[in-house]
């Protein structure tokens, strides 16, 4: 890491915003599991890390009176995966959170950090896209809510403005219930990021009821809406057509983990398997 790195711990949201504004190259830090290896590797460390884990209101998972679930920006992936409400009502998120990284990593990494990092492979993004989550944030211009569908802009890029702090992610009560199946391929089980992954979730109270999210096959995590429509119309018998539609929605690239052609092919295979698994259940 760069020598002139500055580490500051914020104790309130206001303090975090101020600490960020004070220096030109600041970054918010939650678990640091993306930030620290990157800062070390590139030699371009941010000049200031503003640690948000000391802010009490960001460290909670809350069920709101509306039935919505709010997950604070400092809550670990492990805490989300194990939370009884997440497991019972929003199983897609528990499934994806359990698939992220390794056990010690999940104790440190956060769900909000995972989406703010905006990697095309961000595991929890698949679930949050299917569950129609909303990101709550606040910046110099005040608070706002960003629908998750507008949050991912490109690899490593979100619609957060500079200095804007994500406070929490909220999942609406209407996305509760239903079932989910995650198909995920990686080089090493248990640590490596997904080479390609497909999440299928069926939400009884939602339209479309079927939700399909794709990871590591486009500049951002994304939904495959044509596949969803086909599954809604024709159920499990549309498996092959839905697989074709999802493959067409993929925009993969070649990299060390796999070729574009392999990734596209696997999108079809994983979705077909997921439809079969849920159809049979």
């Amino acid at each position: 890491m760069q020598e002139r790195l500055d580490y500051r711990k914020a104790h309130s949201v206001e303090e975090a915003l101020t600490l960020f504004q004070d220096l030109p190259r600041s970054r918010y830090m939650a678990g640091g599991t993306d930030l620290l290896p990157r800062a070390r590797g590139s030699g371009q460390a941010p000049s200031r890390l503003v640690d948000i884990k000391g802010i009490p209101e960001l460290s909670r998972i809350e069920e709101l009176p509306s039935g919505d679930l709010r997950i604070g920006a400092a809550v670990s992936v492990a805490a989300v995966a194990a939370h009884p409400t997440v497991r019972q009502r929003f199983s897609a998120l528990s499934l994806c959170a359990s698939a992220l990284g390794s056990y010690p990593l999940r104790n440190r990494a956060t769900v909000v950090g995972n989406i703010c990092n905006a990697s095309p492979c961000a595991d929890t993004a698949a679930a949050l896209l299917c569950l129609d989550a909303t990101v709550l944030c606040v910046g110099p211009a005040g608070p706002r809510r960003i629908p998750i569908h507008e949050f991912f802009v490109g690899p490593g890029q979100t619609s957060l403005a500079s200095g804007e702090l994500a406070l929490a992610v909220e999942i609406p009560a209407a996305s509760a219930g239903g079932r989910a199946e995650l198909g995920r391929l990686s080089r090493r089980q248990g640590v490596d990021i997904a080479t390609v992954a497909v999440l299928l979730s069926v939400l009884p109270q939602r339209s479309p009821r079927h939700r399909v999210a794709l990871l590591s096959v486009a500049p951002t995590p994304r939904r495959a809406s044509e596949a969803e429509t086909l599954l809604d119309q024709r159920g499990p018998s549309a498996a092959n057509a839905a697989a074709e539609a999802a493959m067409a929605a993929a925009r993969p690239i070649d990299d060390v983990r796999g070729t574009a052609a392999y990734r596209r092919e696997m999108v079809g295979v994983l979705l077909t398997r997921a439809v079969r698994a849920l159809g049979a259940a």
């Binding site: 790195l5 640091g32 620290l36 800062a39 590797g41 884990k53 492990a78 390794s102 990593l105 104790n107």
Partner: protein, 163 residues
Amino acid sequence: MAIPIRVKVNGQVEALEVAPDESLLSMLRERLDLTGAKEGCNEGECGACVVLLDGKAVNACLVLAAEADGHEVTTIEGLGRPGALHPLQKAFLAHQAVQCGFCTPGMIMTALSLLLENPAPTEEEVRTAISGNLCRCTGYRQILDAVQAAAQEMRAGAQGRRP
């Protein structure tokens, strides 16, 4: 630019001045001479550096020393002494789950974190928990057996069946 911190390490409060870019792993090894936790990769991939932070396994290479301020760290050195080994340490010896030993401190701290959360894990749960810890020697079978044996002994101990 030194940052003053107070951190409890293996039960003892340490007051230190750390650099802003210093990892918890290098603080433990270089300042406190606790060389049990190893640096394998320095990027979260191998698990050799795992310690407990407030009772939970973390990769010490991915935590800044400054972040440990006000928290509690347990390393392998805090577990047992010669003649009074922790059940996990005893079981690793008894099951020959140690060969070169490089992965062992991280393996044991990861297993301890799991057993604190889940005193009776299935083999699948142990496999999942240690999947971020690489061992290039044992082939893992002995490690899985050792963790189950230790879990059993710790449960018996918790029920007061042991002296």
